[in-house]
């Protein structure tokens, strides 16, 4: 073999190693890696528990917590939303005066699937499956709208329109997004999921059965 041939062979070997290494990397660039490389963690808390104690702790956050995503979201919704994000909170995050007109970063279909699969592995032990029946019942509506005034801060569908408050996340299609069991846990364990928020604590005000009915109603909105 001449020196030139050896040289060319080496170039080939190095290039092959590079390409193989690169695709190996790609196949391992799973949801967790995408989440890190896109800097999603700069706005979203990914490891629990909740640590906020003061208004300031909450007000300096740039986005909602994702450390219990697997307990909170329906995975089909999550995949779809990450690819085509649409407004959930009508007001800018943490604001009560400014409209939310920010465009959330979007992912490709494949990335969205990988990131959703990763996020769905993050769960909270406080959420147990099976206690809540997801259904938009008249009892649930009565509690949500009349009895406990949830509608003062959250919008739901009212005929062809929407009605209700704007300071809390829009719940008009909450059933596509949220698991009923999580909504119940959120009402029942306010300190675990969101210790500092503009929504009042209802533990000791709404009894357990009613809480389940309301949670089912919220998760019945589609």
């Amino acid at each position: 073999m001449s020196v030139g041939k050896v040289g060319r062979l080496m170039v080939l070997v190095v290039m092959t190693a590079f390409v193989v290494g690169f695709s190996w990397n790609l196949s391992y660039a799973d949801g967790k890696g995408i989440f890190a490389s896109k800097n999603c963690g700069s706005c979203h808390q990914i490891a629990g528990p909740a640590a906020e104690k003061t208004f300031d702790d909450q007000l300096k956050k740039k986005g909602p917590e994702l450390w219990y995503s697997g307990s909170k979201f329906k995975s089909e919704w999550l995949r779809g939303w990450l690819e085509k994000p649409a407004t959930i909170r009508l007001l800018k995050y943490n604001s009560i005066t400014e409209k939310n007109s920010e465009k959330h970063p979007a992912l490709s279909k494949k990335e969205a699937e990988d990131v959703a699969d990763y996020l769905m592995t993050l769960t909270a032990k406080e959420v147990t499956a099976g206690g809540v029946t997801e259904a938009s019942t008249p009892q649930g509506k009565n509690l949500f709208v009349k009895r406990y005034g949830c509608v003062g801060c959250h919008s739901i569908k009212a005929g062809a329109q929407k009605a209700g408050g704007a300071s809390g996340p829009d719940l008009s299609e909450a059933g596509k997004r949220l698991k009923g069991d999580w909504v119940y846990a959120y009402l029942k364990e306010p300190k675990v999921f969101k210790p500092v928020k503009r929504m009042p604590i209802f533990v000791g005000i709404i009894n357990d059965n009613e809480m389940k009915t309301i949670a089912g109603f919220v998760a019945g909105q589609k």
Partner: protein, 130 residues
């Protein structure tokens, strides 16, 4: 040298943990008002927060069916005793035969915070309770 750095770090962490623990979260009445009440009653207390008048903030939702109390109105606010006000804040509108859209904050705020808020409302209306 290494030992010394270690000692300094230990002391720093120790102090940080101690300070962190010592700081109890106590919000002033004004801070509580702006965080909780303003979403309906407005930052200025006139009853025109975003939930009451979403369109004024560019949001396409109808106005609230019951107008939140204008806390700067001495006419309206002087009709309520301090106890009425405290009950409304603690147990919600329904507890004082008003709209349940006024939510209960008794499990969210301490009794002392509710008293402070009542005093803050008296400053807003520049009025006394009946």
């Amino acid at each position: 040298m290494i030992k010394r750095i270690f000692l300094v770090i230990t002391i720093l962490i120790g102090t940080a943990a101690f300070v962190g623990k010592g700081a109890v979260f106590a919000a002033t009445a004004e801070e509580n008002y702006k965080f909780y009440c303003a979403q309906c009653h407005g930052l200025d207390g006139k009853g025109e927060g975003v939930n009451a008048k979403p369109k004024a903030f560019g949001i396409d939702l109808p106005e609230m069916s019951v107008t939140p109390r204008n806390h700067t109105s001495s006419v309206d606010m002087s009709k309520l005793s301090d106890i009425d006000v405290q009950n409304a804040i603690s147990d919600g509108g329904a507890s004082v035969s008003k709209s349940s859209i006024m939510p209960p904050f008794g499990k969210t705020l301490t009794e002392a915070e509710i008293k402070d808020l009542t005093a803050y409302l008296r400053k807003l209306c520049k009025c006394k309770g009946k």
